[in-house]
Amino acid sequence: MTNFEITYQLSIDPNGIVRNGTPYDFKLNPDTYAWMAELYRHLKIEYPKFHKMDHLCKLAFLGVELLKESVDCTSFDKDRVALVFENSYASLDTDQKHQKNVQSQKTSPAVFVYTLPNILMGEIAIRNQWYGENLFVLNDEFDVEGWKQTATTLLKANKADVIIGGWAEVLDQHFDLRLHMIQRR
């Protein structure tokens, strides 16, 4: 019988970063989003596209970079890594910026493209050359069992070997990432 197990967990919220139950050594000041660029430098990432992303994409992107620090993802079949993310405010953080631009008649494609929540999966897919399934779901609250049930649908259908995803929410000063990885055992 096939068994699917959560093999990795990471959270990033105003209280800090916790990886597989252990606090990660990085001081995070939640008052501004400057910590995102600081964490990027701390992780010694060289990926200029990062700086163009909105906060929601940066949050999920950094989560996956932290995952790659402790899990060797290079052996994954690039067609068999699926991304399944969830939140409740969709892309409303950036939607507000675009709405202001619309009202002042200064729209920008660089902002508008981030008015879809699934863009964060596109950014992760590009960074890692992961061609697998994408699924972005909206629910009012995060229930890890519910997310696991949605995500394992792809494993049971044999469309993926690995699922990376979870809850990624940004709205104004609020941010919350609950990143999980599920693998076929």
């Binding site: 999966m121 950014e123 061609y131 049971k156």
Partner: protein, 374 residues
């Protein structure tokens, strides 16, 4: 959950379909209009928009509901009325597929009401539906993806029935965004034509009922054989030049469905009429061995209805199958894609058994699904 895989259901049905659009409020009316070559795309300068789009003008605004909520109520009611019994709440999932929901609320600064989950709750509460619900918001592939996910959930025994409603309107928010990309066409869009100049937007709501039980339908349903999605892993706002993700999605969808490319009778493409999208699709179809297959896009009739598009176009493909009619790709005159395609230039009677539906969207996402007559 794992034990359920041993009790896999064989055929997943799809039917009880509805479309609410500028061309009508029933599936039959919509199909009749497009069969006559009628397009929903026209100028609405009263909105301050200089490019034509498909605007829903005739509808019943229900008390205390927004336009989109009212349209969704109508569409879901119309679908459920095509069933011969109520679906068991505990075995039914309602999925909303949308990109922006009621984003008009944001112009008034109301973030809470702008959440697509709020839209779905409003509609569910009006209809007094007690089943589970969720929302899929995955750019322009949302509708196809919602149906694929619904199929997989039923097949694996998580639910017996899944109702998928796709819904999006044209707002200042969306219009100005696409305008900033220089993606909008000043004339009604012309998918796959050499003179295509970009996309047109459109409003639409469409509903389908998927089930493991063909006895719930009043009219004979079709089979939804399965599907898949894949990412281009290339660019967030432009498609892969090699059609990488779409090719992979089609290949996996064929595998999931147990279908070979020579069994496909026609392909209902995404066909937005942007230069890059249509070129990308032509390349992906060639790579997938579908270069000779009859292909069309319904965007010339409705414009791009975003989160509704996948469901709306699946419904029109289902109608094409039920009526054994290939519908011409409106706006197409002269070949002009990177690789030549067999674009349907005139309506044609043809026995249609198996259809491939594809979609692609921002974020590099692509989806493909396969339908078949039973």
């Amino acid at each position: 959950m794992e034990e359920e895989s041993s009790m896999e259901t064989k055929v997943i049905y799809i039917g009880a379909e509805n479309i609410v659009s500028p061309l009508g409020n029933t599936t039959e009316d919509n199909f009749e209009e497009i069969r006559k070559g009628k397009s929903a795309l026209s100028l609405h300068s009263e909105d301050g928009f200089s490019c034509p789009y498909g605007k829903i003008l005739n509808y019943d605004l229900l008390p205390e509901l927004t336009k989109l909520e009212s349209l969704m109520v109508h569409s879901i009611q119309s679908s459920l009325a095509q069933l011969n019994r109520d679906l068991e709440d505990s075995r039914t999932l309602l999925i909303l597929s949308t990109t922006k929901g009621d984003i008009e609320h944001l112009a008034k600064g109301d973030v809470e009401k702008s959440k697509p989950t709020h839209l779905l709750e409003q509609v569910k509460s009006h209809l007094a539906l007690k089943c589970s619900h969720t929302t899929i918001s995955n750019a322009c592939i949302s509708g196809v993806l919602a149906c694929i996910h619904g199929h997989d959930l039923i097949k694996q025994g998580a639910y017996d029935h899944v109702v998928v409603v796709g819904a999006d309107l044209v707002s200042e928010f969306t219009y100005r965004g696409f305008e900033s990309f220089f993606a909008l066409s000043e004339l009604p869009c012309r998918p796959f034509d050499q003179d295509r100049t970009g996309l047109s937007l459109g409003e639409g709501v469409a509903t389908v009922v998927m089930s493991k039980d063909n006895r719930v339908y009043l009219k004979k349903p079709l089979a939804f054989l399965g599907g898949a999605s894949a990412n281009d892993a290339n660019h967030i706002s432009g498609p892969s030049r090699e059609g990488e993700g779409l090719f992979r999605a089609i290949t996996e969808a064929m595998k999931q469905a147990g279908t070979k490319s020579d069994q496909i009778d026609f392909v209902n493409a995404h066909g937005t009429a942007t230069r890059y999208n249509d070129d990308m699709e032509s390349i992906a179809f060639h790579r997938a061995g579908l270069e000779l297959k009859a292909v069309n896009s319904f965007k010339g009739y409705y414009g791009h209805t975003l989160g509704a598009a996948g469901v709306l176009e699946l419904v029109l493909s289902m109608q094409s199958m039920q009526n054994d009619t290939l519908i011409k790709s409106l706006g197409f005159e002269n070949e002009g894609t990177a690789k030549p395609l067999n674009v349907i230039a005139d309506n044609e009677s043809k026995k249609i058994r198996t259809v491939l539906k594809t979609a692609s969207g921002f974020g590099g996402c692509n989806a493909a699904a396969i339908l078949q007559k039973i």
